[in-house]
Symmetry: C2
Subunit: 570 residues, 2 copies
């Protein structure tokens, strides 16, 4: 492709309305343009990347044996009434009326359409497992679309659905999909993690999210240095420490701690590390007979609300008790409370349970105890996982320790169960002639989102650094002052022809621009391989080669250039 015949559409300045680096770079590198809030046009360069991602997804889906279909994006409300989601789904579901005032919606997902189709087409267990996928534009009416295509309203998605007559079959297909997703992200050349996830609004039981790792990611992910274990930080288990409780070596003593309200202030006043201080929180209980529950954590640990609110004694969603209630219950204000003589239900975090000779509030404003020991000085409550994991924690599978990184969710696989098939009566005849409700799985990939996530993970101050597999062009030819040098022009044209004929995707910068402008554009767009052709180089018998990811420039003999590039691009 010659830049003079191409909508390069690069911008010099950062667009003012873009916050995220991928959003800025997608605009600046001429990948997308905004049409309206959350609605984008994919320009030629962006679409080339999008199609490459799409093709890798398609090939790996085909390799699983799944069949591609294409469902309508406009869906009849009748189906959503059947599943019960017409009423349940929030305003993200864009509801529309056609010219005859019939209700439709723009599909944000296709469980209803596929389940209705399967109900009509699949009659026997012999036709199961049945696995279908599509790659299609979806619409979700986000209340505040932002970050470019990362959270757009219209976006390209791969959604797959599987239908089974047994849990074992669903589990098997789920594993196949898990592997296919891993293959996809490996082929895309992206660093990713499959993490255990909450199933959220779609329903069902087991589920994994696939995250592309990037500092700007919305989610924090804990993963093991010694195994495949990975989970959203909120879901990662903080396992019981292997240490046993040390023996008590101090006597309990009450010490004045005026104005020490936070753990850090207490730790400082007492001259003890915060790992030696016990933090006590009072939260609302789940019943009127037990209106409050105490939570004890090691001073350096943070409460995990999701874990604690799952305990039967605790109100869900979690709510902290008011200062008034705390005073009434403990006799002190928050900041001076502790488990000694505290007569309410208590959850003690696993790490707090192995503390000895610790400090805690004395349930008297301005006083703390030191040298406290469980059992001797305070009755220990139920030991329970109450905290967020931190880096360095032992992995829940016992292998290695946990690291925390940030990730962007680009894929999600669910074992859906019978939520839709039951509501919509998708049954088949089993081997022994009985009607059974199909069990479902569903498997999504945000195809357009992957493009943004790839940039979040792969960029520098100069622009995008595409993984080879999804680069819009494989190689760029940058001739120096070609319009003044016939020799440079001739060499550039010849190399362009040769590479194009060899089937490579070449961006040939034949503009009448200064070298600096050309270099900046090629780096901004992120073309992996770059060849510079100049008078001086030709005199020395060389072209100059550089990879976008590395700083070193290599002189390549002109006669050897094609072979050299073919090897690099292979």
């Amino acid at each position: 492709m010659r830049t003079t015949q191409y909508l390069l559409a690069t911008l010099r300045e950062d667009p003012s309305d873009a916050e995220l680096i991928s959003h800025k770079l997608m605009l600046r590198a001429g990948l997308i343009r905004k049409q309206a809030s959350g609605l984008y046009t994919w320009l030629p360069t962006g679409l080339k990347v999008l199609r490459k991602v799409e093709q890798i997804v398609r090939e790996e889906m085909d390799a699983t044996g799944a069949s591609e279909v294409l469902m309508p994006m406009v869906q009849s409300a009748d189906l959503w009434e059947e599943s019960g989601r017409w009423g349940d789904f929030g305003p993200e579901l864009l509801r529309i009326k056609d010219r005859h005032h019939r209700d439709f919606c723009l599909g944000p997902t296709h469980e209803e359409v596929i389940t209705a189709m399967i109900r009509d087409e699949i009659r026997s267990y012999k036709q199961c497992p049945a696995v279908y996928y599509q790659i299609q534009s979806k619409f979700r009416d986000e209340v505040r679309p932002r970050f470019g295509v990362m959270r757009a309203r219209e976006f390209l998605m791969k959604d797959a659905y599987s239908f089974h007559t047994s849990e074992e079959s669903l589990e098997e297909t789920y594993q196949v999909m898990y592997q296919a997703y891993s293959n996809i992200f490996n082929r895309l050349g992206l660093e990713f993690r499959a993490v255990i996830a909450d199933t959220g609004a779609i329903g069902g039981s087991t589920s994994h999210e696939f995250h592309v790792l990037a500092d700007s990611g919305e989610d924090a992910i804990a993963f093991s240095t010694g195994s495949d274990y990975a989970a959203n930080v909120e879901k990662a288990e903080a396992i019981a420490p292997s240490e046993t409780v040390p023996n008590a070596s101090q006597e309990m003593e009450k010490i004045a701690t005026p104005d020490a309200k936070t753990i850090d202030q207490v730790s400082q006043q007492l001259g003890m590390p915060n790992t030696q201080c016990l933090k006590t929180l009072i939260v609302k209980g789940s019943s009127e007979t037990q209106p409050v529950v105490a939570i004890c954590l090691r001073g350096d640990h943070e409460l995990n609300e999701l874990k604690v609110e799952k305990h039967e004694l605790v109100a869900a969603p979690l709510e902290m008790a008011s200062d008034e209630i705390i005073k009434q219950t403990t006799g002190a204000n928050p900041g001076s409370i502790g488990p000694v003589n505290l007569n309410i239900p208590m959850l003690v975090d696993r790490d707090a349970a192995v503390m000895a000779d610790f400090s805690c509030g004395a349930n008297e404003d301005g006083f703390h105890f030191v040298g406290v020991n469980w059992g001797r000085d305070a009755t220990i409550g139920e030991v329970f996982d109450c905290r967020n994991i931190v880096e360095g924690d032992t992995s829940p599978d016992g292998k290695g320790t946990l690291e925390v990184k940030r990730g962007i969710e680009v894929g999600h696989i669910f074992q859906l169960g019978t939520k839709y098939s039951e509501a919509m009566k998708a049954n088949v005849l089993s081997e022994n002639g009985k009607s059974v409700t199909l069990t479902m799985g569903c498997y999504g990939i945000g195809v357009s989102r992957i493009v943004a996530a790839a940039i979040e993970q792969n960029h520098d101050d100069y622009g995008i650094i595409w993984p080879d597999a999804i680069a819009p062009f494989q190689v760029a030819i940058v001739p120096m002052n070609m319009h003044r040098s016939h020799r440079v022009a001739e060499h550039a044209e010849k190399l362009y022809q040769a590479l194009t004929e060899a089937g490579f995707e070449v961006l040939f910068d034949d503009r009448k621009e200064r070298p600096g402008v050309m270099f900046a554009d090629i780096e901004l767009i992120g073309v992996p391989h770059r060849i510079v052709i100049s008078e001086r180089g030709i005199d020395a018998g060389n072209y100059e080669y550089k990879h976008r990811r590395h700083n070193d420039k290599i002189d390549v003999e002109i006669d050897n250039a094609l072979t050299f590039l073919k090897e690099k691009l292979a």
Copy 2:
């Protein structure tokens, strides 16, 4: 693909709600299923065909140098307000409101979005011509969706747009597109005609429609046996006959023709062929000073309203004069009127103008003249093309004669002009630094409609007969009673492996079905090449080969089968 692991979804019976043969066959062959009125899911077999059509369209668009983009299907009303179409477009434009009550629509076409994009991205004449295309789902809220995907509400379309700084450049790109469209339909293996067309609601001047020929087509097309000339029958010019007017050989005479109201009745009563009778019609004129105009046609010819209403004397849209006005103007009722002593403006069709010794109404109820000659008996009005062409007419380009066939419109190319660029202020700087309004072309292909049109043109009583280029599978392997014959199974598996490894798309019917059922399905789906493997054949050292389009079966030596098929499929 093994049929046991595939959603074949063939139906034995004709679906009751399908009228058109392609609609019936697409349902019966398992290509599509209806989700709601005008909304279809493409099942695996249908999608394979659709993707092949799409890929051929994409390749030929790329070959023109056009760049692929992808615009949002949901479009902001603001752009449609700018172009003036928000108010103008009928209820086919599905207008929607998002959660913030802002107006949007589902794109039936993308002139507004692309023009807005070009206005921002293209600054200079140097960037022109700029040609972009996309392949995308469109939505048109048809009042009565019907004929399956032939007239669906959601459909796949290729739409392209070009931007120019001169008419010459537009004309050039128009020719390139014309050629690309011809290449596409040739590669698809379809019999088609490019016909001169009205531009309709989109506006602009020159335009061609591309029609796939099929008896069920909605449009009548006239085309020459001796040249490329083709036009919609309504637009085809009826050129002046080469004959000069014969000399008068009879005297004018008035004859009673009681109760003869139609040309056929007159012709019968007078014992003259209707080609010798003149038909006179009275239509409304375009001004109050000339309230009526007479149109004279040869008795066997039909009035072409579109042609006549374009004449400045005639009211548009065309309206026939009332009986009362006719009586008042001519003195007679329709059926007895003619040009003799008729003192109103008159258009005489070119063929009517070369008649001699003809009959016509005497402007007196129940009487006709015979032996009438122009000039001597009646003043001839303006000679004008007033009629529909008929088969056998000389082609307007003088080469060959016209035939009339029916066609299905699958493509349309327009020279749009400045309708959108002017309204939306899409200007660039010209070579001499002045701002000029861009001139546009637009070019559409109904990708999903092509699938239906291909079937309308290619089918028989047994099902679809795909052109090779778009067949869902290239070859089918049909083993006879494979589940009872280990030998047949082994041969079938081996051939399936070999063909699949050679990169061919094979449908391997490994179902436990009777041969008749398998043959019927393979023919219904329309797989071009079929191999039957049987015990008897193996004993004789042969497989049986048949092409879907031909009746003869060929015995192919087993050892030679792979080579034979590779040649056939190449």
